[in-house]
């Protein structure tokens, strides 16, 4: 019990942070916002899944993936395919040339459901697919790259290229997967109307609960020996390898885990927003997702959630009133976070905020040690890096 308190909840300060977050998600926001705004927050919270996955992968693992949009998208698309099939039953699509297939297929002169759509009639299969398809995909990429000791910058560039490939593929295959419009017009989940007000509330709370669960599981992983090894690998990969650990296996596991977390976010996104499109898969969204984690604090699971909320709130607020300023602000945010606040909000809180609440700055457990200016991984000369 005591070990669980310490590892899962992170001791007293960790528990306090988690309770504050839970109170904000479950009490403050639902009570103070109307349903439209709350639905927006729900959307932001699905991005928080990615931010959390990037904290694991980038903050602790030192692996910057510029392709988290891939997994978010895969999860989202799996969910969307199930919902779309349910929405296009023969009765409601009887005006089509071929009733019973999704409308965009009919527009593109398809007369039969493609084979890879067939299993998505089953919800069990869909849930399995949401969890496993992105994970297996990540395993394939990770196995090919990490086993050959490709890391750092090269990994970032290749994941980015894969995000590009996937976007072009989805946009190009209008008939099979909905093209640039994405999969839209999703209505019900097993007959339950996901567009109704009550459904929106329920989905919001399910989303919040899932997010908290993901954070708890991540905490357990990070405070285990495995988490220690990740940190060690980030700082001195060679030394960990020489100590007899297979560095690649740990990295592959972390990458798969991050993919799965992102995919859960993607599926929740589809459920709450009611559509999925390639604009959430490509290069630009994937990099924006990194900034959520960076603003919140790349070493803080809870900070990442605040980062996702704040950046997206800023985006919505600014693009409503000053669309031109937003890109300047976003760009400035990237630069400022990197140059001046490498630990994001969580770093600022640790430095100044804690004193306000406790009167003295407590030294946290070793796991929460922030990025030191010099603690960045020294570029290790792996197989692919320039000499």
């Amino acid at each position: 019990m005591k070990a669980m308190y310490k590892n899962m909840l992170g001791g007293r300060s960790g528990l306090a942070g988690l309770l504050v977050l839970a109170a904000i998600i479950f009490l403050v926001l639902p009570l103070s916002l109307d349903l439209f705004r709350l639905n927006l927050v729900g959307k932001y919270l699905t991005y928080a899944f990615i931010a959390v996955s990037l904290v694991l992968l980038w903050g602790y693992g030192g692996i910057l993936s510029l392709g988290q949009g891939i997994f978010f998208g895969l999860g989202g698309y799996c969910m969307a395919m199930f919902l779309k099939l349910e929405a296009s039953d023969p009765i409601s699509t009887k005006i089509q040339t071929t009733p019973g297939i999704p409308d965009f297929m009919d527009w593109n002169q398809l007369t039969k459901l493609p084979w890879f759509w067939e299993p998505f009639h089953s919800l069990t299969f869909t849930i399995m697919a949401i969890l496993l398809v992105p994970t297996l995909f990540a395993f394939g990429i990770g196995y090919a790259m990490f086993k050959r000791r490709v890391g750092g910058v090269y990994f970032a560039i290749i994941t980015q290229a894969i995000a590009l490939i996937l976007t072009i593929l989805i946009v190009g295959q209008q008939g099979y997967i909905g093209g640039v419009n994405g999969i839209t017009d999703l209505k019900t989940l097993l007959g339950w109307d996901i567009r109704a007000d009550s459904a929106k509330y329920i989905l919001y709370f399910v989303n919040g609960a899932l997010l908290i669960t993901v954070i708890l599981i991540s905490r357990v992983i990070l405070s285990s020996k495995f988490g220690m090894l990740m940190l060690a690998m980030r700082d001195k990969e060679e030394r960990v390898r020489f100590s007899g650990y297979d560095v690649a296996d740990f990295k592959i596991f972390m990458f798969c885990l991050a993919a799965m977390i992102s995919a859960i976010g993607g599926a929740m996104f589809t459920l709450q927003v009611g559509f999925m499109s390639p604009t959430f898969v490509g290069i630009v969204p994937s990099i924006e997702m990194v900034i959520f984690a960076a603003v919140g604090g790349r070493m803080s699971l809870i900070g990442a959630v605040y980062g996702a909320l704040l950046v997206n709130y800023g985006k919505t607020a600014f693009s409503e009133s000053y669309p031109e300023l937003w890109l300047f602000l976003m760009g400035g945010l990237f630069i400022a976070v990197v140059m001046f606040f490498p630990d994001g909000i969580a770093g600022i809180y640790d430095k100044y905020g804690k004193k306000l609440f406790t009167g003295r700055s407590r030294s946290g457990p070793a796991m929460s040690s922030r990025t030191m200016p010099n603690a960045q991984p020294v570029p290790v000369r792996d197989a692919a890096s320039p000499p």
Partner: protein, 305 residues
């Protein structure tokens, strides 16, 4: 494919091959700058495409001015130099204000330069408008010549290729045959040692980075002869150019040339036989697959580890 006769097919291959050569030239000019910045210095410059756009916009502006004052046919060569100069200056300032603090943090450089590229894109949009603009081409760059009846070779394409060849040669001489290049290479290989033997490493960094940006500006000037320029033009090419550099082997100049050639040719020929998007997907997939098998790229520098 059976609907084409043998001679038709040959002309198609020739013409697609030539359009591949134009793509090759622009890709190579972009990638040359990156090969210096990323291959030699190890800095990930995600704003590289925007430096290209600086060059393109400079050329477009100068062409507008030149046409107004009636010397429209002579401006192009000075415009190329001006594009280089503008992008060089911008690169110099960016290194001074941003990059030099981040040499030890490659992944953070990636994020910071991405932010920079967002800012630059919005700056282009606010200054020049969201619409694409194109330069007034001088007459000697227009038209095409026909070596045989069915083949049409545009002159601007030939010009861009010539420019690319000159720039390529220039980069080679600069990097491997000049004192500047020696200092730049020494600095990127071993900063401390280079400093110890009296090289001003900070200056070497700055000039090398600015030079890479300047070459991106040249790419922009060349780009205006074959397409129009918009605020997001640069970002369309950024992933491709990174793939060129990584695929060729980061530290190898000849590798960059070969991989730009291979990628451009594959893409333009595949795009004729498949749809445009599938051609691109196929090309990128092959590159990623090869990179997974051979992460050091095609022409890896042989180094003892």
């Amino acid at each position: 494919m059976s609907s084409y006769s043998a001679s038709d097919l040959w002309s198609i291959v020739l013409m697609q091959g030539f359009s591949g050569l134009s793509l090759f030239s622009v890709l190579l000019l972009m990638a040359l700058g990156l090969a210096i910045i990323f291959g030699q210095m190890g800095v990930i410059n995600m704003a590289h495409g925007e430096f290209m756009a600086i060059g393109a916009y400079t050329t477009v502006m100068l062409s507008k001015i030149a046409v107004e004052h009636g010397f429209g046919s002579f401006y192009f060569l000075p415009a190329i130099l001006a594009s280089f100069g503008a992008a060089f200056l911008a690169g110099y300032l960016v290194e001074l204000g941003l990059i030099r603090y981040l040499y030890k943090r490659p992944l953070d450089t990636l994020l910071a330069t991405w932010g920079l590229s967002l800012i630059m894109q919005q700056a282009f949009r606010s200054t020049f408008g969201a619409k694409e603009v194109s330069a007034e081409l001088p007459e000697w760059l227009m038209g095409s010549f026909k070596p045989i009846q069915t083949v049409d070779i545009p002159i601007n394409g030939v010009f861009v290729m010539g420019l690319t060849a000159v720039v390529c040669l220039g980069v080679f001489v600069f990097l491997f045959r000049s004192r500047w290049g020696l200092r730049a290479r020494a600095t990127s290989q071993n900063r401390v040692m280079a400093g110890a033997v009296g090289i001003n490493t900070k200056k070497a960094d700055r000039v090398t980075f600015a030079l890479g940006c300047g070459i991106a500006g040249l790419a922009g000037a060349a780009f205006t002869t074959i397409a129009s320029t918009g605020p997001t033009t640069g970002s369309l090419y950024i992933v491709d150019s990174f793939m060129v550099v990584v695929f060729g082997g980061a530290a190898s100049l000849i590798g960059t040339v070969m991989s730009a050639f291979g990628i451009a040719q594959a893409q333009s020929i595949l795009q004729f036989f498949m749809t445009s998007s599938m051609g691109k997907v196929a090309t990128l997939l092959v590159i990623v697959a090869i990179l997974m098998l051979r992460p050091e790229g095609l022409f890896a520098a042989k180094v003892r580890r």
